[in-house]
C-alpha cells in the first residue's frame, strides 16, 4: 500500500508539470486552432535560462533563494518575449493560411529553438542549482521532498490564477469570445491579434514556470529535454480535450498517474511480458486511444471538426 501511495505521489508531481505545460498548448489551440509544437522548446529555454541566471548570481555571491527568485523572474520574462516573438514572427504572417502551414512552421520553430539552445548552452547535461532547501518527508511509508510539495502547490496556484483570469477578467472574456468565433468577436470590438498574443504570452509564462519546476525536480537539464516533455503535455491536452482549460489540467495529472502506475505495475500485471521500458510509451498509447475512441477528449465538448 505504501508503494501505491508512493506511485501516486510520483504521478501527481509529474502530472502537475504536464498540466502546466499542457495549458500552453490548450490555450493557443482553443483560441486559434493551432498546435504550437514549439511550446516544449519554450519550456526548455525557460529551464536553461534559469540555470544560467541563478548559477551566475550564486557565483556572484547572492543568497541562493534570492538568486533563484531572480532566475525564475528572468526566465519568465525571456519566455514571454519568446512566446510573443514566435507568434509575431512565425504565426501571425500565416493567419488565414491553410491549417497545415502554421503546423509545419511550429515544428520548424521547434527545431530552430533546439539548435539555438544547443549553440548557446552546448550539448552537455547541465546541473540545475538547488535553490530549494533539501528536506525529505515520510508519510505512511511514502517519501517525498520539499521540492515536490512546492511543485504541486505552485502548479495548483498557477492554474487557479489562470482560471480566474479567463473567467473573471475582461481579457478572459475576450479570449473566450475569440475561441467561440473569432470573426464575431472581432465585430464586437475584440482586438483578435492582441488576444492571440496574450494567449501566447500567458502560455509561455506558464511554460517558464513549468521549466523551472522540471529543472528543480530532476536537477539536470539538456537542450533536447523540451521535445518529449512537449509531446507528453500535448497528449495530456488531447486527453483532457484540447482547447479546454480544465481538461488540460485534469489530462496532465491523469497522464502523470497513468505513467507512474503503468511503469510501476505493468511488469507484475503482465507477468513480465510488458515492462517499465514502456513508461514513455503510455503517453502515446493514451494519445492513440483518445484519438480513436473519443477525439474530443475526456472533457471536451467540441466535435472533432477542428482537430
Amino acid at each position: 500500500m505504501d508503494i501505491f501511495l508512493q506511485q501516486i505521489i510520483n504521478g501527481l508531481v509529474q502530472g502537475s508539470i504536464y498540466a502546466l505545460v499542457a495549458l500552453g498548448y490548450t490555450m493557443v489551440y482553443g483560441i486559434m486552432g493551432l498546435i504550437n509544437f514549439a511550446h516544449g522548446e519554450v519550456v526548455m529555454i525557460g529551464t536553461l535560462v534559469t540555470i544560467t541566471v541563478t548559477g551566475t548570481l550564486i557565483k556572484a555571491g547572492m543568497p541562493v533563494a534570492l538568486a533563484g527568485l531572480a532566475g525564475v523572474s528572468v526566465s519568465v520574462l525571456v519566455c514571454i518575449a519568446l512566446g510573443w516573438g514566435l507568434e509575431r514572427i512565425a504565426y501571425r504572417p500565416l493567419r488565414g493560411a491553410p491549417r497545415l502551414t502554421p503546423l509545419i512552421t511550429a515544428i520548424g520553430m521547434s527545431i530552430v529553438l533546439q539548435n539555438l539552445a544547443m549553440i548557446v548552452w552546448g550539448r552537455n547535461y547541465m546541473t540545475f542549482p538547488a535553490f530549494l532547501p533539501k528536506i525529505d518527508y515520510e508519510f505512511a511509508g511514502a517519501n517525498f521532498t520539499a521540492v515536490q510539495i512546492v511543485i504541486v502547490l505552485v502548479s495548483a496556484a498557477t492554474m487557479g490564477g489562470l482560471l480566474l483570469l479567463v473567467y473573471r477578467t475582461k481579457l478572459g472574456m475576450a479570449m473566450r469570445a475569440t475561441a467561440q468565433n473569432p470573426a464575431v468577436a472581432s465585430l464586437m470590438g475584440v482586438n483578435i491579434n492582441r488576444v492571440i498574443a496574450a494567449a501566447f504570452i500567458i502560455g509561455s509564462a506558464l511554460g517558464a514556470v513549468a521549466g523551472v519546476m522540471v529543472g528543480s525536480y530532476y536537477e539536470i537539464a539538456h537542450y533536447q529535454m523540451g521535445f518529449m516533455l512537449g509531446l507528453k503535455a500535448f497528449t495530456a491536452a488531447v486527453l483532457g480535450g484540447i482547447g479546454n482549460l480544465g481538461g488540460a489540467m485534469a489530462g496532465g495529472i491523469l497522464l502523470g498517474l497513468i505513467e507512474a502506475l503503468g511503469a510501476g505495475y505493468i511488469g507484475d500485471l503482465t507477468g513480465g511480458f510488458l515492462g517499465s521500458h514502456y513508461q514513455d510509451i503510455f503517453a502515446f498509447i493514451v494519445l492513440i486511444g483518445v484519438l480513436m475512441f473519443r477525439p474530443s477528449g475526456l472533457f471536451g465538448e467540441k466535435t472533432g471538426d477542428r482537430a
Binding site: I3, N10, Y125, T127, E138, F144, E219, G275
Partner: protein, 454 residues
C-alpha cells in the same frame, strides 16, 4: 668558462637536433606510403603500424595519450635493434585521426589498408573500431585495440581483431561477483537498453545469479530519460539491497539522487559509464559511497606500472590519461608475434598473435578464441569525498599470474637446492648437508612469502 658554455651550447643544440629528429620520425600520413627504407649496411625492413584515435575534438586528449603509448613502444623496439627474418627491422607509426566518428574511422582505415600497413593499433572508441575492423579483416591486416570495450568488436568472427583490455562482458561478470561479495542478498537491475547498457546488465545478471544473489527486479529506462521514480519505487517495494545500473552518467547521477529521495537505502553500482566526474556532478551528495568500475588496473598496482609511468613522464612530460599503457602493450604484442613468426608479413604473423603469452605492463596478455584478453582485470572504485577511490581489482591476469610465476621460480629454487643436497651428500661432509638443508629452508621460505604475496 668558455669550455663550460660550449658544452652547454652543444648539449642544447644536440637536444634540439634530437627533438627535431624525433619529430621527423613521426611519419606524416601522406608521406608514409612512400617512405623509402633508410639506407643501411644490413638489409632493413620498415614495419608500418597504423595507429588510429581521435586527435581532434573533445576526446583529443585521450587520442594523444594513446599515440604517446604507441610511440614509446615503437621507440623502444627500434632501440632494441630487432632482427626478424634475417633483416634489421625498423618500426614506424602511421598515425591517423578518426575524430571518434565512425564514418571518419572507416575512411582512415581504408587509407591504412591502401598504405599496406603491417598492422593496426586502435582505434580508441568502440564506435569507430567496430566498422573499421571489417576493412582490416578483409585486407587480412591484424588489429589490436587497447581501449575499445564493446564485446561486439571481437565477436564478429574476424580472425584479425584482438584487444588487450577487458571487454564489457568481463566487466559485467566482475561486477556481479563484486556485488555478491558485498554481503547483499538481493539486487535490482536497471539498464538503458543501449548496446552498452543492456550488454553490461545482462552479464551482470548472469554473474550475480551464479554467485547466489537474487535478482528481485529487472527494470528498463532509456538513454534520454530523467525520471526514474516509478521504476525506483517498484525496486523499493521489492526491497533490493543493491541497484545495478547499466548505462551512462547522465542517467546514473539523477538515478542515484532519486533513490535517495525515495528513501532507498540500497547501494548503487555501475560500470565505466558512470565512473566519471560527471556522475558526481549530476548525482550531487547522493553519489557519495556509490560504486563503479573501470576496465584494467590502476597503474600503481602493476609490477611494471610505476616504471612505465616514469618512462612516459620523462619522454613526453605528460600525465598518463587513460589507455596509453594498453596501447603500449598492444604494440609490443604485435612485435612479439612478429618475432615468434620470424616475419613481419601480416599473413605469417597473424596466427602467432592468437598464441601470444606476453607479460606486458598492464597484464599477462593471452587471448581467448575470440581475440579477447583472457581474464581481463576490472577495478572497482567508490565515490568518496568528491573523488574516485580505488577499492579492489577483480579478475585479471596481471598480479595473479606474476605471483604464480614467482611461486614457480621458488619451486625451481627448492628443486635446485634439493639437487645440491643430493650432490653434497654423495661428495662428503655433514656441513655440506647442513648448508643444503638451509638452502631448502630458505627456498621454502621464499615460496611461502611468494604465495603470501599473492
Amino acid at each position: 668558462m668558455h669550455a663550460k658554455l660550449s658544452v652547454v651550447a652543444l648539449s642544447v643544440i644536440t637536444a634540439f637536433a634530437l627533438s627535431a629528429c624525433g619529430q621527423k620520425e613521426e611519419p606524416k600520413p601522406v608521406a608514409a606510403p612512400i617512405t623509402p627504407a633508410a639506407p643501411a649496411a644490413k638489409p632493413e625492413v620498415v614495419v608500418k603500424l597504423g595507429h588510429v584515435a581521435p586527435m581532434t575534438g573533445p576526446q583529443a586528449h585521450l587520442g594523444k595519450d594513446n599515440e604517446y603509448g604507441a610511440l614509446l613502444a615503437v621507440e623502444e623496439l627500434n632501440a632494441q635493434g630487432l632482427e626478424i627474418g634475417g633483416a634489421k627491422v625498423k618500426f614506424e607509426l602511421v598515425a591517423e585521426d578518426d575524430q571518434a566518428d565512425p564514418k571518419q574511422g572507416s575512411i582512415v582505415a581504408q587509407k591504412l589498408v591502401d598504405a599496406k600497413v603491417n598492422g593496426v593499433i586502435g582505434h580508441l572508441n568502440s564506435g569507430t573500431t567496430i566498422p573499421a575492423s571489417k576493412l582490416y579483416a578483409d585486407a587480412g591486416i591484424p588489429q589490436v585495440s587497447g581501449s575499445a570495450t564493446n564485446p561486439k568488436y571481437t565477436q564478429q568472427g574476424f580472425a584479425t581483431a584482438f584487444r588487450v583490455m577487458a571487454n564489457d562482458v568481463q566487466q559485467g561478470k566482475a561486477l556481479g561477483e563484486f556485488a555478491a561479495k558485498q554481503g547483499v542478498k538481493s539486487v535490482a537491475i536497471v539498464d538503458d537498453r543501449t548496446a552498452y547498457g543492456q550488454g553490461l546488465a545482462d552479464e551482470f545478471k548472469k554473474a550475480a545469479e551464479a554467485s547466489g544473489l537474487k535478482v528481485v527486479a529487472t527494470e528498463y529506462t532509456n538513454d534520454k530519460a530523467t525520471d526514474f521514480k516509478a521504476i525506483l519505487t517498484k525496486i523499493k517495494s521489492k526491497k533490493a539491497e543493491l541497484v545495478f545500473f547499466g548505462g551512462m552518467d547522465a542517467q546514473g547521477g539523477p538515478m542515484a539522487k532519486q533513490m535517495k529521495e525515495l528513501g532507498i537505502k540500497a547501494k548503487f553500482l555501475g560500470g565505466d559509464g558512470v565512473c566519471t566526474p560527471e556522475f558526481m556532478k549530476l548525482g550531487g551528495p547522493a553519489s557519495e559511497g556509490q560504486y563503479c568500475s573501470l576496465p584494467g588496473m590502476p597503474l600503481e598496482k602493476l609490477a611494471k606500472g610505476p616504471e612505465f609511468k616514469d618512462k612516459f613522464g620523462k619522454k613526453f612530460g605528460a600525465e598518463i590519461q587513460l589507455y596509453s599503457p594498453y596501447v603500449y602493450d598492444a604494440v609490443m604484442v604485435v612485435a612479439d608475434s612478429m618475432k615468434r613468426a620470424n616475419s613481419v608479413e601480416p599473413a605469417k604473423y597473424l596466427p602467432e598473435i592468437g598464441k601470444t603469452k606476453y607479460d606486458g605492463v598492464t597484464a599477462l596478455i593471452e587471448f581467448d578464441q575470440f581475440g579477447d584478453l583472457k581474464g581481463g582485470a576490472i577495478s572497482v572504485y567508490q565515490y568518496k569525498g568528491g573523488k574516485l577511490e580505488y577499492v579492489e581489482t577483480l579478475g585479471g591476469g596481471g598480479p595473479v599470474d606474476s605471483a604464480k610465476a614467482e611461486v614457480k621460480e621458488a619451486v625451481a629454487e627448492v628443486k635446485e637446492a634439493a639437487q645440491a643436497v643430493a650432490g653434497a651428500a654423495t661428495t662428503a661432509g655433514a656441513n655440506a648437508v647442513k648448508a643444503g638443508a638451509e638452502a631448502v629452508k630458505s627456498a621454502a621460505e621464499a615460496t611461502k612469502s611468494a604465495v603470501e604475496k599473492k
